[in-house]
Structure formats: structure tokens, C-alpha cells
Amino acid sequence: MELYQQTIHQLHSLLKSKKISSVELTKAFLQRISEQDSRIGAYISVTGDTALHQAAQADKLIAHGNDISILTGIPLAIKDNMCTKGLKTTCASRILGDFTPPYDATAIEKLKQQHYVLLGKTNMDEFAMGSSTENSGVRPTHNPWDLNRVPGGSSGGSAAAVASQQAVAALGSDTGGSIRQPAACCGVVGLKPTYGLISRYGLVAFASSLDQIGPITRDVRDAALLLNVIAGHDHRDSTSAPQSLPDFTAKLGKPIEGLKIGLPREYFSAGLGQEVAAGIDNARNILEKLGASFAEVSLPHTEYGIATYYILATAEASSNLARYDGVKYGYRHQDYDNLLQMYENSRAAGFGDEVKRRIMLGTYVLSSGYYDAYYLKAQKVRSLIIRDFEELFAEYDLLLTPTIPAPAFKLGERTADPLTMYLSDIFTISANLAGLPAISVPSGFSSSKLPLGLQLMGPPFSETKILQVAHAFEQETDYHLQHP
């Protein structure tokens, strides 16, 4: 097996036993990127010099016989909406121009403390607004399994980088499905942690009550290992949870006998593809053989998720994106007579169409006379959606659903109509609204050999159990071992 096909835990043993060096490993990835990425478009920037420098540092630590940590010398890719000190962070938007953060996001700081290697910053829908990575202001990313199809989004670059073996693993961010949906489309593992488990400090804000950073990996163990590193309370993010942290790998391989898993019927309605439904049946059979029990359950407010989300997320975005004013950093339009014109021209030329649409919608639902009808209403429906989950989790350990209703769609197929694109997130959005942890794991392939994904959701801070069940399923299947 090639080096670039292996997992974090496999490469860690090779590094630790000095069978390979981090420089050797990093060079293998940089070579792979130079061969592959012109057709995939996973990266916005490749940070080769930084990577080789970090790898050499890691090799020194290993040579000195230090007890190295799990990520020491491991090459990762980072979504380009996380601040990396001294390295351009663009959010795939023209408005950030050549913005070079003077600080690291907390998640990045934690990776650095472990002496990881940064290969580059990955492509995304501009400001994480989209489900296909076609809204990137740089270029679209192509699905490694079929270059005519999208990789999902908004963390499409991160998912495609891992699937096309251009990084061992990656970080993405998930506001309405932006880790899980691309992970499913690209046949890799993606975990959205409980809201508040990972600091949002240095993650460029889209919708602050929904955004969460998480891992995109080749297997479930890698997701648990990365989570162990990036999780934790941070005084710089007042919405991070003051929670004691478990070892997220602790239950991997432990029996799942006796666990109760619900199948919410709203996720299996008429529109669901035959192959997707068959994949979930297969997963159910596998988990039943391992001793889990299943029952059909209901989340009655599921159908209101997307409407609720597009009020709350756009409202928060309109406020968060007010900071792009051509004054403090990023792009400033050259043509203006006064301050107002400078704002309006800079923002008009700096933001792409989808971002403008969401700023407009968010401004509208917050504007005088509409606040109660839209924003307050959505906050109330959010409570109803949360209540649905609370009632089920009083009785069930986890919920099993498909991650995506159909395999990855073709480039251009959904760009004409924003609402059709929004409906791509139908199965992933509720976990964000309720702040719940959820994972997507490869669950098989369509007849045309496109990846499909299953989703496991649990109550707040149940990551250990979600990972345990996802791992149990993965060990019985070989979907995660197949490459495009």
C-alpha cells in the first residue's frame, strides 16, 4: 500500500518505529498533490515550504527519541476558513483578498502543539455557503470518484483531498451539513461534534450558533484521534463548553450489544433513492447481528428544518459578514467618492452571488416589521426540533439515517435554483439546529460506483458512543477501504 493511502494510526506506527520519516511522507503527499490536484481542485493553496519545515522539526523530535504524539509528523489539510498565522486564509472569497491572519485558530494551535504538518488550505463554497463547492470564488472542486460530479460542500475541498489521497486527513466545518454531506459524497468519514465541543476561535464566522469544526478522515479511528486533539474548552470562545473530555477512542472495538437505535421515518420518505434505502437496510442488518436493536421512530418537525435553518443561518450571516467593509483587512474597491460608496462597492465586488443572496435574506428577516414573523418564529420552531430529539434520546441511544438522499449530483445541475441546492442538506441540517453530534460513514456505492453515506446522530456529548457504533459498522464492511 502506498504511503498516501494510509491512516493516521498506521502512519503514526511507521513514524514512531522510524520505518519512514515525516519528510519522506510529506514529500510523497506534495508529489501526489502536484500530480492530482489540477484535475480535482481540492486545494486553494499548497504550503509546501511550511510543510517540509514542519516535517523536518517532527523528524528531529522522533530522532531524539521523544515520546511523540499521535499527530507528530502527520500531513493534514485544513479548510480555508480557519485562521493560520502567516498563511493566507481566503474563505474562497475575493473579499478577503490576501488576508494573512496574525494569529492561529485554537484548533490549529492544538494541531501545532502536536507537531502536525500543514499541506495546505482546502477549497470550499465561499464563506461555507453551499452544498457543492461550486460557490468557491476560486474554482469548483471535482468529485474524485467522477470528475463530472460535485464533491458536496461546503467542505468539498477537504473531503476531496482525503478521498483522492492528497492528505491523510483534514479539518472541515459544518453549519448545516458541510462536513457530513461532502464526506458522504466522497466516500470518507466526517464528524460534526456537539456544538461547543471545539473552540470556534479563529474559525471565520458564518452562523455562530450553528458552526462547528470537525474531522474528515479515512476511518472512524482517525476521526476519534483527531477529535482528541482539537476538542476542549477555550476561554477565547465563550460558547465553548466547559466540559471534561473523555478519550474518544475509549469505546472503539467494545461490544455494541443492547444499544437501542431509532430509525426516524421522516428520513425514509418517498423521495429516498432505492440504493440509499438498501444501504441503510444493510447497515441495520449488520448492527443487529452485533446486538443492537432497532425501532422506527418519529421526528415530526423534520420537514421544517430547512426553512428554520435558512432564516437563522442567514440572519446570523448577515450580521457576521458586516465586518467586511474594506477598512480593516481584505479587498477595497478603488472607485468611491465617500465612505458609504466604498462599503457598497467593496462588498458588491468582493462577495459572490450566493453570499449576497444570504446577506440580503438575513437582513430582510431581521428588518423592522419582519423580525417576529421570520426570525422569532424560526427560533421557536428550533425549540420544537430540539424537543423532538430530546424525547427520542430519553429512550434511544442513537438515530440512524442516510446522510444524503442520493449520490453526488453533477456540476451545474443545481446552480440555477438556490432553493433546490438548499434541499441537498435535508438530512444533515437538524443536527446543527439541535447542536447534536453526528457522523457520516461510507455505507456502500451506487450502481454507478458513487459513494453513499449513513449518518449516526446522538444526544449532546455522545461522540464516544457514536464513534463506537460507527467503528463497529466499519469493521464489518470494506467500503472505507476502496479508492477512487
Binding site: 496574525p102 450558533s209 460558547t239 432564516i311 465612505l339 457598497e344 435574506l361 430582510y364 447542536g435
Partner: protein, 102 residues
């Protein structure tokens, strides 16, 4: 509703008003497109009105956290040079902007 049906949930005047609040300059040709797209999304969002939320409390935050306080201690922060590094225009230790007061 189908994609072809026209909706006028919001008017061109409202598009102008919202664009002004959003500090976005819009080309005249883009306004009818924005009007149609926003109207269609708002039509979809209307489905929330089917739900009775009279006695439901709004959710503003997912975690059971109240105000998060910390000690009022001076800590290191970005230097003015670092904070100004990315400014499109600056003078000394200030961001430079077009004249605000006539």
C-alpha cells in the same frame, strides 16, 4: 410551487431597501433576479406558519450557559502593527478611510 411560477413576495423597492441596509451596490439588471430568488425562498419559508408556536419559547443558544464571565485581567494581545498588517490603507497606527465628516 414550480420554478417557472413568478412570485412577488417582495417588491423591487424592498430589494433596493434591503440592499441599502446590507451595504451592497446592486446593478439594475440584477434586481429582478434577486427579487425572484428571494421571493421563492420566502414562499418556501412560509411553511413555518403552519405550526402553532404560541406557547413555545425561542431558542437563542444550544448550551445551558448563561453569561460567561472572566476575571478582568490585562493580557497580551495583538500589537498595533500586527493588527494593521492587513489594512487596505493605513497611516501611522490608524486605519485610513475616506472623509466621514464634511
Amino acid at each position: 410551487m414550480s420554478q417557472e411560477e413568478k412570485s412577488n413576495k417582495i417588491s423591487i423597492e424592498e430589494v433596493d431597501y434591503i440592499a441599502r441596509l446590507s451595504r451592497l451596490k446592486m446593478k439594475p439588471a440584477d434586481k429582478p433576479v434577486m427579487q425572484q430568488q428571494l421571493s421563492r425562498i420566502l414562499d418556501y419559508i412560509e411553511k413555518l406558519n403552519k405550526l402553532d408556536t404560541e406557547n413555545v419559547a425561542p431558542t437563542t443558544h444550544i448550551l445551558p450557559l448563561g453569561n460567561v464571565f472572566r476575571e478582568d485581567e490585562a493580557k497580551a494581545s495583538l500589537s498595533p502593527e500586527a493588527a494593521l498588517e492587513n489594512a487596505p490603507d493605513k497611516e501611522g497606527s490608524f486605519f485610513r478611510v475616506p472623509r466621514v465628516i464634511e
